[in-house]
């Protein structure tokens, strides 16, 4: 996984509450068996006028001019400002894959849905929860000045607004450690192999019916 330490980037404001993962990446694109290539279909239905198809070339498709990611001033954005309950609905990890593939490194919102929040950390994408009034302020500052950049510092757990105001955020120690160092958490868990084996033996004694092989 690509590490995340400190990132300075153009922020794009997506002023919509309850953005679900169907919206982030519609179902027809989930047929892929790869982890990459979803960026061109990120927010497909909000971004384009027509219905997108898998493997379709997207340059030349009619775009919705009023959608934030289609506005010239937000081209190259790498920090997404969002509203409450971002990422609700389906557990599809294709949602963070699409955000990452598009070029986003961080999403800032007043709240996230649990599964989406979890999935982001597995992909070097940092979801940040700030207080609603802090998010409001970021939206206002970003709207006020074209090219406004925000600084996300994971080590310090701060977001610096375009005007220089600093907001602190919380993140679990373990997740922070993995993200800062780009660690594969499967490898880390496997370091606990003995504990898992010990637990499994105990569980096997208590609930042996859970350990029978499945006859076809």
């Amino acid at each position: 996984m690509r590490p995340f330490t400190k990132h300075t980037g153009l922020a794009a404001p997506l002023d919509l509450a309850n953005v679900d993962t169907d919206m982030i990446i519609p179902k027809q694109f989930l047929k892929s068996i790869k982890r990459t290539g979803f960026g061109k279909n990120l927010f497909d239905e909000l971004r384009y006028e027509d219905e997108g198809q898998p493997d379709q070339e997207c340059t030349g498709r009619p775009v919705r001019e009023d959608f934030v990611l289609n506005m010239p001033r937000y081209q190259g954005a790498s920090v997404l400002l969002a509203r409450q309950n971002f990422g609700c609905g389906s557990s599809r990890e294709h949602a963070p894959w699409a955000l990452d593939d598009y070029g986003f490194r961080s999403v800032i919102a007043p709240s996230f849905a649990d599964i989406f929040y979890n999935n982001c950390f597995k992909n070097g994408l940092l979801p940040i929860v700030l207080a609603p009034e802090e998010v409001d302020q970021l939206f206002a500052e970003v709207a006020a000045k074209e090219g406004a950049e925000v600084v996300v510092d994971l080590e310090a757990q701060t977001v610096t607004s375009p005007s220089g105001e600093v907001f602190e955020f919380l993140v679990d120690t373990f997740r922070k450690h993995c993200l800062l160092n780009g660690l594969d958490d499967i490898g880390l868990t496997l370091q606990q192999e003995d504990s898992i084996h010990r637990f499994e033996e105990k569980r096997m004694a208590a609930a042996p019916w859970l350990f029978l092989s499945r006859e076809q």
Binding site: A17, N18, D20, D22, M23, P26, K27, Q28, L30, K31, S32, I33, K34, R35, E45, E51, P54, D55, R83, Q84, N85, C88, G89, S90, S91, R92, E93, P96, S111, A113, D114, I115, N118, N119, K122, N123, D172, T173, F174, R175, D184, D185, I186, T189, L190, Q192, S195, I196, F199, E200, R203, A207, P208, W209, L210, F211, L212, S213, R214, Q216
Partner: protein, 475 residues
């Protein structure tokens, strides 16, 4: 010290290691796999040279993008016309073969929607931890199991380590008190709950559903309720174990037998919240207040009873809600309409992991029996949740009732719930759907979904618009 909730008990009995920062390593008993969220996980295993920790803990079946017409199903995976879908289903078959995982493939009568198949086979058992790369895994909580959806990286993590890194959720109790009215189903109950607490109301919580209104539900009804816990923001929905649970599990193919059965039942009897358990949040609904529900907007919380007027954006005080309502009104094409009876329906879908089990099909058949679907309808389809549900329905003659009424009888799969296969809505079309999400575009680009119970969907199919099924059946 206060007692433990059911969630606390399940958590504690699966705790491998507690970490200082509050996260923990949790042991997983069962992982269900399907074609959409597993290929990248298997690929990850291969790239790292890893093997599944314990293959017998996994069970796989393709469901999300399998076709549901007879024509495309006679030849199994080879019959899938969409080449991209075909690759995905074939990839699941190949991965299961390579790693030795039991799979009910498209030719197997046990194939179906993972959340129908697991319980049906007795693969889902009380006291288990169950995960799947699908948010509706909360369904299995109906068995007093700790079950939730995970992402693909976590699917790979569970395959490789049998564990998941988790942070404990807070406890919420949603109590439904009193006897439900006739024709008010589990679906109406859960939609009413989501309407009450909102789509983010359960975020960060494990919700236990209790009270007499829940206890009186069958296992299938309980699965419907837990299925939609995620639509209230909670990854986990739970219902305490009782005789209904144990009677349902008994005799199923993967259920314990003989001495194991007795031992299991003894352990399962403890899968209830202690009397003095403390919940962080308690919500109470009265059964008598719950009427047949219909969603009007683009979020499951945008739901009303059938006899209520559609709420208007201008009447909302919260600015976020006001904007959300205005957007939903526009998307759903509700201008000029007062109630949901004013909406002319284009399609009806009876199916999905929420409502495709035998009891759902029986009640829908009961409503349409001897009647004909409205001529204004373009299509009404019934998609059973598994091959075995289909076989049972056919044994009972339900398929002939549906077909005589003008509904199409299909092969099992997720189908029009998420429209990854050919079953989808056209732009602007309204659908009465027994599924779980009414998001923009969910059932097809520009499609307009209204979530309802199977009885309400069946009545709507006949009337061509929404009606109160409890009134409808009197005529």
């Amino acid at each position: 010290m206060s007692g433990k909730t059911l969630y606390d008990k399940l958590w504690d009995s699966h705790l491998v290691q507690q970490r200082d920062d509050g996260s923990a390593l949790i042991y997983i008993d069962l992982q269900l796999l399907h074609e959409v969220t597993s290929p990248q996980a298997f690929e990850g295993l291969r790239l790292a040279g890893r093997k599944p920790w314990r293959v017998s803990s996994s069970l796989a079946t393709p469901d999300h993008n399998v076709p549901t017409t007879q024509k495309e199903r006679v030849d199994g995976v080879n019959g899938i016309e969409d080449p991209v879908s075909k690759i995905q289903v074939t990839t699941l078959d190949d991965n299961c073969n390579e790693f030795g995982i039991t799979e009910f493939n498209m030719k197997d009568i046990r194939q179906g929607i993972v959340h129908v198949v697991g319980p049906e086979q007795g693969a889902t058992l009380p006291g288990m931890t169950v995960v799947c790369g699908d948010s509706h895994t909360s369904t299995h909580g109906a068995f007093g199991a700790l079950a939730h959806g995970i992402g693909t990286s976590e699917v790979e993590h569970v395959l490789a380590t049998q564990c998941l890194v988790q942070k404990k959720s807070r406890n919420m109790l949603v109590r439904v008190d009193g006897e439900l009215s006739p024709w008010v189903s589990a679906k109406d109950v859960v939609l009413a709950i989501i309407g009450a607490i909102g789509t983010a109301g359960g975020t960060g919580y494990a919700i236990e559903f209790g009270g007499t209104g829940i206890q009186s539900l069958s296992m299938e009804g309980r699965m419907t309720v837990c299925n939609m816990a995620i639509e209230a923001g909670a990854r986990v929905g739970l219902i305490a174990v009782d005789d209904t649970t144990i009677d349902y599990v008994k005799g199923r193919p993967y259920a314990p037998k003989g001495a194991h059965w007795d031992m299991a039942v003894e352990a399962w009897r403890d899968l209830v919240s202690d009397k003095d358990a403390q919940f962080d949040e308690v919500v109470v609904l009265k059964s008598e207040d719950i009427k047949p529900q219909v969603t009007w907007g683009t979020s499951p919380e945008m739901v009303i009873a059938i006899d209520e007027p559609i709420p208007r954006a201008e009447d909302q005080t919260d600015p976020v809600k006001k904007e959300g309502y205005a957007r939903a009104w526009k998307y759903m094409g509700l201008e000029g309409k007062t109630t949901l009876a004013d909406v002319t329906l284009d399609r009806v879908f009876i199916g999905s992991c929420t409502n495709s089990r035998i009891e759902d099909l029986r009640i829908a058949a009961d409503v349409v029996k001897g009647r004909k679907v409205a001529s204004s309808l373009k299509q009404a389809i019934v998609v059973p949740g598994s091959g075995l549900v289909k076989a049972q329905a056919e044994k009972e003659g339900l398929h002939t009732i549906f077909e005589a009424a003008g509904l199409e009888w299909r092969e099992p799969g997720c189908s029009m719930c998420l429209a990854m296969n050919a079953d989808k809505l056209g732009a602007g079309e309204h659908c009465a759907s027994t599924s779980n999400r009414n998001f923009e575009g969910r059932q097809g680009f520009g499609g307009r979904t209204h979530l309802v119970s199977p009885a309400m969907a069946a009545a709507a199919a006949i009337a061509g618009h929404f009606v109160d099924v409890s009134e409808f059946v009197k005529h």
